[in-house]
């Protein structure tokens, strides 16, 4: 849909204007490959469609090992940054990665590659579910999957809790239990709860640094 064949008539530059130099931030790593917009879209669509739960592993393999768009250090830094931002890490990663190479348009194209194909897929699945969602067989299978997914999340919690609850730490466990109790048990709204808990946790982490 983006294949407009009309060649844009390039105005001859005014005699006094110099040609635009490449932006200095983009030329920090000259030996690295700089992806085009089409490559960005394809890369993130591929990551998205091959990533079941393990999107991080896929994105690392492609960005660092196969295409050499990032060094391992750059990948770690970008990913650490994304984990601070609200929203899914991989979505933030696509925006930051795309815009670092190709500006705002690059960010948008990378994001579209990441969420476009699964959004289409899920819309179709939503339509199918609207017709067949009441079938007992389907319902039982989906209940099984949801139960397993809950179990996977519990395993993640247990693994994260290990280092947190070690060393007779008090602050971390307290924050974790308070968050769980207010959201999971009391089912309070997320925004006001986090508006209180996050600043408190930051202050406590700063004091006990």
């Amino acid at each position: 849909m983006n294949s407009a064949p009309i060649p844009s008539p390039t105005e001859p530059p005014a005699p006094h204007s110099l040609p635009e130099p490449p932006s200095s931030s983009a030329s920090t790593a000259p030996q690295q490959v700089r992806p085009s917009l089409a490559e960005l879209f394809i890369a993130f669509a591929t990551i998205s469609l091959s990533g079941f739960g393990g999107v991080l592993a896929w994105s690392r393999r492609m960005m660092v090992e196969e295409r050499r768009w990032l060094t391992p250090e750059q990948f770690n830094e970008a990913y650490a940054l994304c984990s601070f931002l609200p929203g899914p890490n991989i979505i933030n990663f696509s925006v930051i990665f795309g815009s670092r190479f190709r500006g705002p348009l690059g960010g948008a194209v990378a994001l579209l590659g990441l969420i476009g194909p699964p959004t289409v897929l899920l819309t179709i699945i939503g339509a199918i579910y609207a017709y067949y969602g009441d079938l007992p067989v389907l319902r039982r299978m989906l209940t099984g999957v949801a139960s397993a997914a809950a179990g996977l999340m519990m395993a993640t919690v247990a693994k994260m809790a290990g280092p947190l609850f070690r060393n007779r730490a008090v602050v971390g466990p307290l924050v974790a239990v308070a968050t769980f109790g207010s959201i999971g048990i009391l089912q309070w709204p997320l925004a006001p709860v986090l508006a209180v808990i996050v600043p408190v946790s930051i202050v406590l982490a700063w004091v006990h640094r």
Binding site: S48, L49, F52, G53, G54, A80, L81, S83, F84, L85, P86, G87, P88, N89, N92, V95, S99, P104, G107, I115, P118, T119, L121, G126, Y129, A130, R139, M141, L142, T143, G144, V145, A146, S147, A148, A149, A150, G151, L152, M153, M154, A155, T156, M160, A161, L164, V171, A176, A178, T179, F180, I183, G184, Q187, P189, L190, S201, I202, A205, R209
Partner: protein, 177 residues
Amino acid sequence: MKVDGGTLAALAGYFALTSLFAIGGGNSAIPEMHRFAVDVNHWITDQQFSDSFALAQLTPGPNILIVTLIGYHVAGVVGALVATLAMCGPTCIFAFFVGRFADRSQGSVWHATLTRALIPVTLGLTAASATVIATTSDYNWAAAAITAGTALTAYFVRVHPLWAFAVAALLGLSGLI
């Protein structure tokens, strides 16, 4: 399906706001989405929410796209697109600007402090998500056994999620659940 502008606006505004509070990944917002879509607005039932969660897990792509399914339930294809854009838009704009700024502020003290402050919050939210999903799906002893079995297995061995889902779906298919 009839699409009404007020509902679409509510979907968009709500998911845009919620996306900014999804700390530590998409699953953190599961309890909040359940509260709002099922308990407050009665857009979908418990069972539909649980099914949507399972379908989003089974579909490749970011799991946050459960919002696409919720949007579809509420307002068809338009709802699906509106919900998806609302959930991704604000955080992406945020990420864009932070990405620019953060090029110059790597490895500072507050970096480490923020990490230590946010990890327990993420932990609590993930535990809450697991609880909400486990209590929302059509629950019986077999489903509880699947949850417990998956949790124990995944804690001690590296399990690819698809294998866990495949086994659980087969158990469901066999009529055990």
